[in-house]
Symmetry: C2
């Protein structure tokens, strides 16, 4: 029994919205994320529940079942591997690959994914720093900090982004903030929490709270 493109998208989004703790996801949140209406979401939830892919009780929100989780993680694995391919092999920018990977992730061939994974050298992270689930479906989220949690004087490594919007990624490109960059927090403005940071021991620049909130970093 094959899942449709649309079903896979719902499962992927439920996975993302329910987070590590597997918290219930609301109908409205899904309507927002899928760009559909709540009524359409309800229809789909009934269908996914019938297929045993989600736990669903009317008015109570949904969580993934084990089998739903499996499907979601497979889709995420494909999405992230294709993103690596697009950036590493085809030369796309990290700001250009999301929509294309959104299509490629639904190509249904197990052997394709595994050959792609091998070809790419079994990457552990995608171009945005997101972890790639392994072939068995194990997905371990590294516990990165958000830059807002870093104190003045600390040096951290840039490890990923929370916002994948092209405009945000392009902004980082212009600022020279790339994956693996060393970020030293020089100063935090008390008033608006904007910060001045030094990148790779080179130029110092000001970043807004909005930017800080979307940067995942790691102490060295």
């Amino acid at each position: 029994m094959q899942n449709s493109f649309t079903e896979e998208n719902y499962l992927k989004i439920i996975h993302a919205l329910s987070g590590r703790e597997g918290v219930e996801v609301s109908t409205n949140a899904l309507a927002e994320s899928t760009s559909t209406r709540a009524a359409s979401v309800t229809d789909m939830l009934r269908k996914l529940a019938d297929k045993g892919l989600i736990h669903y009780k009317k008015y109570q929100g949904v969580t993934l079942t084990e089998s739903g989780e499996k499907v979601a993680i497979k889709v995420i694995r494909k999405h992230r591997l294709w993103e690596v391919f697009l950036v590493e092999k085809l030369g796309f920018g990290w700001d250009e690959v999301h929509d294309i990977a959104e299509e490629l992730e639904h190509i249904p061939s197990e052997v394709l994914v595994e050959k792609l994974d091998t070809y790419l050298g079994h990457p552990k992270f995608d171009p945005h720093g997101d972890p790639i689930p392994d072939a068995k479906g194990n997905l371990t989220e590294p516990d990165y900090l958000i830059l807002t949690d870093v104190h003045v004087g600390e040096k951290v490594l840039m490890m990923g982004v929370l916002d994948h919007a092209p405009s945000f990624l392009q902004h980082l490109d212009r600022s020279g903030i790339t994956l693996g960059a060393v970020i030293e927090v020089k100063e935090i403005n008390e008033y608006d929490k904007s910060a001045s940071v030094q990148i790779n021991g080179g130029p110092t620049l000001f970043i807004s709270l909005e930017v800080s909130k979307n940067l995942l970093v790691q102490r060295r």
Copy 2:
């Protein structure tokens, strides 16, 4: 105005069935090729005609318009480039790639195709010897012979296959008949038109008319 997966498939199949001369394709032939019923084909033909992608007069069969031809050739370009990728980069056999390419060919991104083409080194032929249309949509079919047209004593180069069925391609693999192989026709059996051929100056083997009819070759 985007064309759907299904519409693209119809256009691709009409292109294939109408051949170089652009001959009319019948409703039944399309039903056969799309694995649907004639009534469904009629519905789709009306739709494609409304979009200006085919010439359609009831009961008279269809041909592609210029704009339909353009779409078909784009799909064919994508299909064949992805096949090259699957074989050359991911290590699939030529008998394994058709179904996967059938999915990949509908991924809609011009820039993806062009980057893929560049990455692959602008290949001119796919793993089955079929010519790859260029970015401008020029598709030049080389005029190969069919092995049945080759006389005893002639040496020819194996250039492609007409049948893409995995079972046929696997049969060729077992026989050592690969793209680029030199085939010398040693003998043709008058009764059933089976032939004995020598491959690359090495082993001689018997091939049935069924096989000969599906091998595209070139005089040297």
